[in-house]
Amino acid sequence: LRRLLVIAAAAAPLLAAASVSAALAAASPPPATPGPAPAAPLTVAATPKPLTLEALRQAISVREPQISPDAKRVVYVRGVGDYKADVEKTELVLVDVASGARRVLTQDRDDVSSPKWSPDGTRVAFLAAPGKDQPPEIYVLPLDGGDAKRITHAAGAIQGVAWRPDGRALAYILRDPPPGARKPSPSPAPSTPPAPSPSPTVTPKPSPSPSPTPKGYAEAFTVTDEHYLTRAPVRASHLWTVDGDGSNPRQITHGPASDAGRIDWSPDAKTIAVQQQPDAIFAHLTKTQTVLVDVANGSVRPLRAGTVDGGAAMSPDGTRLAVSVPRHGSVYLHHDAVVRRVSDGADLANSVALDRNLAWFDWLDDRNVLVGAPDGVRSYLWRVPLDGGAAARYDLGDVDFGQDATIAKDGTIAFVGRLQDRPNEIYVMRRNAMPVAVSDENAWARGYAIARSERVDWTSDGMAVNGVLTYPTTYSAGKQYPLVLVIHGGPVATSTRTFNSLAQMLAAHGYLVLQPNYRGSDNSGDAFLQAIVGPVTSGPGRDNLAGVEAVKKLGIVDPARIGVSGWSGGGLQTSWLIGHATFWRAALSGAAVNDWFEQATLADISEEFASVFLGGVTPWTPEGRAKYRAESPITYAADVKTPTLILTDAGDQRVPISQSFAFYRALQAHHVPVRMVEFPRNGHNPTDPVDREARIRIWTEWFDKWMK
């Protein structure tokens, strides 16, 4: 259930992408460990080479591991940066679990994702773009030989693919075409005749609409909670089914409500569980709930009316749903797994006692739900029995659970493993066994010096706080090193001690790197997460300053050379910290929330996100406005003395760039050394290989300039 995507999309990465860890790592990624043969990390090698950006180009991203129903094979998506074309090249890889033999299944396809085994294990469905700049369509690949066959001709954004239990049809979610767009039809409709030129003498009373609209003309539209870069009216997505041979595409749901998330068929194929929000406006993901769709007539009933949730997974017997339920009513805060009865929505069991923020979950079997979540500076997997027994944590050894997994009928799990000394690999774990790597994509990392990361602990405002401290690659005891804070976004996210490209590059440049898990991080239970609500900026600011003090006490920090940086929520912290302390030697504030009012009125997550984290306060009263101001870094910009680099994507819908501009102009006006750099891209993070790499380069160069 990365199905939790909704949550992932909702909770974690909201501001998280910033979490440099999440963002940077994911793409030019991450972690590494033992290949087939458990690797001997840092110890052995002769003289490992220092890690460079060029070396990092070898990093391969592995994701979406899909284990075959018989647990004998795994298919996963493999992504590698093509730095010439500046795109990620993707393909499907098939692994035979027993022999470890791997081969590539797809050739020359773009944007490959969402592989799904057919229930009988003979075919794999997946999404791929049929051509450059075209939205992905569904393909089905026979595993006994032959090219994949294209199943859909939807020419629209498809998300989610799910085989019907009999393997003869698929369900998927497709975004509606723009209003007025011709439905794709096999026989092209005759083109409309040219319109008569407007008659100058006849004018109906109500002002006339322009007759035929020329190509490329798009009507003006009204917006409500859409973000400030919106260029077209939102369109709902709806559930469809199509036969396995591509015939009979059929729209199942209709209306303004928009479907999303994981698609789960009931064993009798009569019902589909899916996520639905009342309309397609992104900000309204906060109103998402699990619904049950009658496949025959398209009627929809909420699993439990009047509630919101972050996704669901159906039990193998189809009688229950494990649901990601926000504990405080907001999908932006802590989630527990709750098992609900399909028939009436009644609660049967939950993971409340585990008290970890759900990042992934699925059914191990009809009696156990598996739950993945961060914990401390690692992330783990637990088994939650429905009989009320205590949640049991799996022993994954040195491997962290990557919150991306599937489970075979016999309970074998394939998952993305996150490692300390190389980017991610795919692991398979049989019942009662330790996980085994079935990919070795990032073996290249073995030849390089990988910096060591450790957990550090401190207290702040009486709370226990932790973080990840990464040592310079050249570290030797007794010496002092410059320190750079790299603060994650979210704020509901966690920095773990796994391989992180940015932290590694900073360490390779001789820096200690501290990634603090300030209050609001989701690695220490609900109370700690919840402590951010209200003092959304000031509270974490104290935690992070205390973290600096704690690390200084280790005696390895050069106190004259401490820098601070972060993206998104981490940029917010950076901007805040340089307005509240002047010991920083340099700062890098990426995609920063600098003004909560602008964040509330311009972002795709709109007013609710700000309001939730500011403790239910809106900016529409004088007191509320004062609160927004008090928690906004821009208010303290005149106090900044630190040389600062402001970084952002030019088209960031999540953290509106007006805030970067304001902070930049303020620092300029106060003659603080400041530079603002934009990536000419849309989105909250640069996602193309070249700009992702450039971000790390700019980041390290900025600190080198001021701290070397």
Binding site: P208, S658, F661, H670
Partner: protein
């Protein structure tokens, strides 16, 4: 002439049609309007060329053609029938050729083309990779100097997708670093180019000195669009390439008289920097005489007469006039009747040509011969408008609270009857350094056609009564202007024709700013439409392509000075959004670089939170006002429909 935050007037397209019975002007009529600009008269005064602008609603684009008009016969013909975009025609000094910019041919960017005036097709002269931004003839007609943007220093990295860029004065919509433009020379028949200037500063608006050995130009500190108030003047020696910079910051638009002894340029008025004064000086910039300060009107579009007088146009009250400035400080007025001239072009015999509108005609071409008592109209392209019922316009003049002379233009419904009550719509001009004049205005005419009174107020900050009037608004642009507008509404109400229960307020840009101000400070309005509204001056100072404009209006940079910051907030409608009781339609382009789109979103959210009906309408286009005919027409349609719905 810094009308940066203004709305564009309606576009235009023309078909001659002889209407049946006079009926009010309607939206479909607007499709047939034609406007003229860039008039250039031949040195011998026998012919002129101009740009004729129409709109192609089928292709949804503006069409610009170069037309030639014979001054004797008034015969007009199109010189560039198949080019879609033609700009900036300039006669060669001897009058045998016409150079212009066009993006036609295989080059998608504008290039200089030269057309023989006695027959034959135009030939492309330049081949500038990034297009030509401006050009001029060397006085001997054998060379052309032009301005083109430099290639980015990191263009190789950009080509390899490594395209992050540093922001300096760029607008929030920027997707690449602005590059400076520089001057290049090329033989008039094409050939080898020679770069004349280089540097991180940027050159524009160039003109040869009559001896051909030097070129005067505007020198901006960098390549961003925000050269407003930041340019200086410079002269480059063609042989040595030596550049000499002079003039106060904000000076621009140097032009030489025929002898080459005198130089005219515009510079910011000392009292109100947003007003342009014309300065006459020696050719090297010395011995400057600020004749413009004496004129004390926001002057633009100047050209020298053979006798050394400098002709400019400027708005005076609600009329545009032509003034002749002399270095001895004397100022004369030229007779233009009821025509509102745009920029002028002068022939060797002192014939002055210009395009201009009147109260009933948006645009025709005129010439004013030396000594004549009135201009002669050469075109009657929009004459068909006479068959439409177009409401009368009149100017309402009064004195503001501090004695400042103020005025407004009232357009009445076509068959206006005294004693009857009419709904009233305010349409407030943008700028704010601009002014409503008593000229044909499509939107006002259409609204009057609906049976409404349309009031277009000028206010302190408008540039039609001199620098002092503007200066009284600086620092407090909104509160001062807001008071003036409420005053004139009260004045009009006293006349007895206004239905007080149906008064609407609207405007685009700075007019949208005033609209947002008025609905946060008065509740009499039945409905409001705020187009591209400056709801926060701070937002303009922070994100606009003309970010220097807000500090000029506020008398300081809010980010540098807490007192100015306080003033910026005090003078921003957003601060008072919780007071709005008027149903409000907010309209913006999705990618407005001038009045940043976020300012519309913020105000919308704030008004919506009060429970007052508010809508935010977005045009999925870039720019400060939709530039394509269909969207522009749609703005008018919705503007009118919004008030129709609420009246």
């Amino acid at each position: 002439m810094h009308r940066l935050i203004m709305s564009c007037a309606g576009a235009a397209s023309a078909v001659l049609l002889l209407g049946a019975a006079p009926r009010p002007l309607e939206l479909s009529d607007i499709r047939h309007l034609v406007t003229y600009g860039s008039v250039s008269i031949a040195p011998d005064a026998r012919r002129l060329v101009a740009i004729e602008r129409r709109a192609d609603y089928k292709e949804n684009r503006a069409l610009t053609h170069l037309v030639l008009i014979d001054l004797k016969t008034h015969a007009k013909r199109t010189l560039t029938p198949d080019r879609k975009s033609v700009q900036s025609p300039i006669w060669s000094p001897s009058g045998d050729r016409i150079a212009f910019l066009s993006a036609g041919g295989e080059k998608k960017t504008p290039q200089v083309w030269v057309l023989p005036a006695d027959g034959g097709e135009a030939e492309r002269v330049t081949d500038a990779e990034r297009g030509v931004g401006g050009f001029n003839w060397r006085p001997d007609g054998r060379e052309i100097a032009y301005v083109t943007e430099d290639e980015a220093p990191n263009h190789k990295a950009i080509d390899a997708h490594d395209d992050a860029f540093d922001v300096t004065q760029e607008a929030w919509t920027a997707r690449a670093a602005a590059q400076p433009s520089h001057i290049w020379l090329i033989p008039a028949h094409g050939g080898k180019t020679r770069r004349l200037t280089s540097g991180t500063w940027s050159a524009g608006d160039l003109e040869y000195r009559p001896d051909g050995h030097a070129i005067a130009f505007n020198r901006a500190p960098d390549g961003t669009a925000d050269t407003f108030l930041r340019t200086q003047l410079a002269i480059v020696d063609v042989a040595s390439r030596k550049v000499r910079t002079f003039g106060d910051t904000g000076s621009n638009g140097a032009t030489f008289d025929r002898s080459g002894h005198t130089l005219a340029y515009a510079r910011p008025n000392a009292v109100a920097s947003v007003q342009s004064d014309i300065v006459l000086a020696d050719a090297d910039g010395s011995h400057a005489v600020d004749v413009g300060a004496r004129l004390d009107r926001d002057a633009g579009g100047g050209a020298f007469l053979p006798d050394g007088g400098f002709v400019v146009n400027a708005t005076d009250g609600t009329q545009t006039r032509l003034f002749v400035l002399h270095r001895d400080g004397t100022i004369a007025t030229l007779p233009v009747g009821d025509v509102h001239p745009n920029g002028v072009s002068v022939a060797r015999d002192a014939t002055i040509a210009f395009s201009g509108g009147t109260a009933s005609d948006p645009s025709e071409i005129y010439v004013l011969r030396a000594g004549a008592q009135a201009p002669e109209r050469l075109t009657s392209t929009n004459a068909w408008l006479a068959s439409r019922g177009i409401g009368a316009k009149r100017t309402i003049a009064w004195r503001g609270a501090d004695g400042t002379p103020l005025d407004a233009v009232l357009t009445q419904p076509p068959n206006f009857q005294k004693g009857k009550k009419y709904p009233l719509v305010l349409v407030i001009h943008g700028g704010p350094t601009g002014a409503t004049r008593a000229t044909f205005n499509s939107l006002a005419a259409l609204m009057a056609g609906r049976g409404w009174l349309v009031l277009e107020p000028n206010y302190r900050g408008s540039d039609n009564h001199g620098a002092k009037s503007i200066a009284t608004s600086l620092g407090h642009p909104m509160s001062v202007a807001g008071r003036d507008i409420l005053d004139v509404v009260a004045l009009l109400e006293k006349e007895g024709s206004v239905d007080a229960s149906r008064i609407g307020v609207s405007g685009w840009s700075a007019g949208g700013m005033m609209t947002s101000w008025l609905i946060t400070h008065d509740t009499r309005w039945r409905a409001a439409l705020a187009g591209a509204p400056v709801t926060s001056l701070l937002g303009v100072a922070t994100m606009s392509d003309v970010d220097a404009y807000a500090p000029a209006l506020l008398r300081g940079n809010p980010w540098a000075d807490p007192a100015v910051m306080a003033r910026a907030l005090e003078e921003s409608p957003l601060t008072y959004a919780d007071r709005v009781k008027t149903p409000t339609l907010i309209v913006t382009d999705a990618g407005d670089q001038r009045v940043p789109t976020p300012l519309s979103y913020e105000f919308y959210h704030a008004v919506r939170a009060t429970g007052t009906p508010a809508e935010l309408l977005v045009y999925p286009v870039n720019g400060h006002f939709p530039g394509d005919p269909l969207h522009a027409e749609d703005v008018y349609r919705r503007w009118i429909d919004w008030f129709a719905k609420h009246f």
